[in-house]
């Protein structure tokens, strides 16, 4: 069953991506039907898979197989360039370059690493303590939230040039998060 479902989802992913690609090729927004059809196939198959194969198993299978199907369409539509020089229109944004200062690097590492982790833990565990429901569910949800929050903290602190602001927010989030969580846990 999984074999046939996988093949069907792979084909569906390719069909959905093909329809979206056709509308993209026209570039003037004149193919709303293809956009709607493409998304209908992609999302419809995810829902059908979740219903028929299982809510988590089916959704995961659909997302994986449709991704591969779509990548096959992208690979099929590849073009080979001859010019070695980049045109302005093709150039992606350039990263902001700052003069490297050692202490800023150290501070950013501390912010994105240990301090970001502490702040993420503080907020996630606050959720764990105050969320209603079974403690096992609260612990697992808090655990899942922690890496997400830490990842967001990493992105933000490494992008924000105002290090003092980032430090204040992360220290504040850590103190308030852990403080509230401690209060809630001891209550």
């Amino acid at each position: 069953m999984i074999v046939w479902a996988s093949l069907l989802l792979l084909a569906g992913g390719a069909l959905g991506a093909f329809l979206l690609r056709r509308s993209w090729q026209q570039r003037d927004g004149s193919a709303p039907g293809m956009i709607a059809g493409g998304w209908f196939v992609l999302l419809g198959l995810v829902l059908a898979s979740a219903f028929l194969i299982g809510p988590v198993k089916g959704t995961a299978l659909a997302l994986v197989m449709e991704g591969i199907g779509a990548l096959l369409v992208i690979w099929q539509g590849r073009v080979r360039r001859k010019a070695a020089r980049l045109r302005d229109a093709e150039a992606a944004p350039e990263p902001l370059e700052e003069p490297g200062r050692f202490w800023r690097g150290v501070l950013r590492t501390l912010l994105a690493g240990p301090l970001g982790m502490t702040a993420a833990m503080g907020v996630a565990f606050c959720v764990t303590v105050y969320l209603p429901g079974d403690p096992r569910t609260r612990i697992v949800l808090g655990g899942l939230l922690m890496p997400v929050l830490w990842g967001l903290a990493m992105t933000w602190t490494l992008a924000d040039r105002r290090l003092l602001r980032a430090t204040a927010v992360l220290v504040g989030a850590s103190v308030i998060g852990f403080g509230l969580a401690h209060l809630g846990a001891s209550a």
Binding site: M1, I2, V3, S6, A17, W24, G54, P55, V56, K57, A60, L61, L63, V64, M65, G67, I68, L71, V73, I74, G77, R78, V79, R80, R81, K82, A84, L86, A92, P93, E94, P95, L96, E97, E98, R108, F125, T128, V129, G133, P135, R136, T137, I139, V140, L141, G142, G143, L144, M146, P147, V148, G151, M154, T155, W156, L158, A159, F178, H182
Partner: protein, 493 residues
């Protein structure tokens, strides 16, 4: 900014912020590139652990079905070969996992057998697969530290995915562009972005579940301090694990396990028994747990527990499991792709390779950008070639070594070869990075052929499967073909 640019800019964050986020994406990607790449590469291979185990031990029996009586025979046989206080875990064949296996585990003892359809046991000591899994899970470092570093890598990957999306204002406009040839930077950027975007749910799931699995020890430790300052981590674990039965070390015969499996099947007719766990076998405080799975559920949610006398000691069904326990049980399944059999493993393998390419191309874009601006970093180009292509070569060498000398310390060999390859690449100033990468690729192709031939020659007379050997050969051919194509159509820097 001109009015025209303002009109064209449709991204929710300003161009200046996009550049800052891109800078954050670069810093994070470069800082963690080597570890992310290694974890992704070993993870991609670890998805195929069940296949690799059977490839390493070619005569392994693969049971398509296992009767209740054969399962009981396997457990009785396994119990004869283990020290006291060792638990037995019997994994029955399922649609998602071919073959049956029996594992004996205690903090000081571990042994694994393959179970044939008649219940007989044969050793399943796949040292290279085990080395590979430990390299993925904890980098062969002390467990807590290694898992923390791998968890941190997951967080860095998660953060890179978020910053990668935010830093890509043309994510929709470019979604179907794949331009090869011409500028290397543009080619690599297209590959990086397309493979990153279209497989984003997969990358996100892997990064999140990997981060949680790696950071679980520290999360539990801090939570225990906060919630149960007197009970410690044990108290948190107790929430998720069944309390052990009261100690009674008197000898007791194994109950009729076949009857217990049949009883469990009768109590959950919609589910099929998938695991049998025997704790403290041969003692009066023995506990036998039969775990069953339902077709539509990711995690087994039917459990029937029996005591040493074969009496029901407890049972749980889907309605008894809280959401947290279900999520926790599903994390490993989603992370390794072991929920849907070979088709899912192949899909995970392909998208795992895609994630390796995303990581590798991220560094290549940075190197090409530097070269394009007249500030090349040839030493880093060589080092990256040694990481990117050297690691598959070194892993192949460890696989060969495990074949000829199974007792060799694979982690030590891997570490020594890794350090040497990076040092040699850094010092080889006369060899340009792309040439070094080519040398590594050729070495990889040649070693894959050697490995496939050696294993294939040993497996063929024993009737073993040649699937993995075929895949190794296909990989070698793809590398050779890639080399020929690159020679015909060189890409500008």
């Amino acid at each position: 900014m001109s009015n025209t640019r303002k009109k064209q800019w449709r991204w929710p964050i300003s161009p200046e912020t996009v550049r800052s986020v891109l800078s954050s994406h670069s810093i994070l990607g470069l800082a963690f590139a080597a570890v992310i790449y290694l974890v992704c590469l070993t993870g991609t291979l670890a998805v195929f652990a069940p296949d690799l185990e059977r490839w390493e031990v070619p005569a392994t029996p693969v049971a398509r079905t296992l009767s209740d009586a054969a399962a009981a025979r396997a457990l009785a046989e396994g119990a004869k070969h283990i020290p006291a206080d060792t638990a037995l875990y019997l994994a029955l064949p399922t649609p998602a996992k071919e073959g049956a296996s029996l594992t004996a585990f205690s903090p000081t003892f571990e042994r694994k057998w393959a179970v044939a359809e008649d219940g007989s046991l044969s050793d399943l000591e796949a040292v290279w697969t085990e080395f590979l899994i430990h390299l993925h899970v904890n980098l062969h470092l002390p467990r807590s530290w290694g898992e923390f570093i791998v968890g941190l890598t997951g967080v860095a990957l998660l953060s890179s995915l978020v910053s990668g999306i935010l830093a890509h204002p043309r994510v929709l406009r470019d979604a179907f562009h794949l331009r090869l040839g011409g500028s290397r930077r543009l080619q690599e950027a297209d590959l990086h972005n397309r493979l990153g975007i279209w497989a984003l749910p997969f990358h996100f799931t892997l990064a999140l579940t990997g981060a949680l699995l790696g950071l679980s020890t520290i999360i539990v430790a801090v939570l225990a301090l906060l919630l149960y300052p007197e009970g410690g981590m044990k108290k948190v674990y107790e929430l998720f694990l069944d309390a052990p039965p009261p100690v009674d070390a008197r000898a007791a015969p194994m109950p009729d396990v076949a009857a217990l499996i049949a009883e469990a099947r009768a109590r959950a007719p919609e589910a099929a028994p998938q695991n049998v766990v025997v704790e403290r076998p041969g003692r009066a405080d023995m506990r036998v747990t039969v775990t069953s799975g339902r077709a539509k559920l990711l995690v087994q949610q039917d459990e029937t527990k029996f005591d040493a006398g074969g009496r029901i000691a407890g049972e749980e069904h889907p309605q008894d499991f809280v959401t947290g326990t279900r999520i926790l049980g599903g994390i490993g399944q989603l992370h390794f792709g072991w929920y849907g059999g070979l088709p899912v493993r192949i899909a995970y393998g392909l998208l795992g390779i895609a994630l390796c390419v995303v990581t590798s191309s991220g560094v290549t874009i940075w190197l090409a950008r530097r070269r394009g601006r007249g500030r090349p970093a040839p030493q880093w180009e060589r080092i990256w070639a040694a990481v990117c292509w050297g690691q598959p070569v070194i892993l192949t060498l460890t696989a060969l070594l495990s074949w000829f000398a199974p007792e060799a310390s694979l982690p030590t060999v891997w570490l020594v070869l890794t350090v040497l390859s990076i040092m040699a690449s850094a010092l080889a100033r006369t060899v340009p990075g792309p040439s070094l990468a080519r040398i590594w690729r050729r070495a990889l192709a040649a070693l894959l052929v050697v490995l496939a031939l050696i294993h294939g020659a040993a497996a063929l007379p024993k009737g073993g499967s040649l699937l993995v050997d075929g895949l190794l050969m296909a990989g070698a051919l793809a590398l050779f073909a890639g080399e020929l194509r690159t020679r015909a159509k060189p890409v500008a820097a």
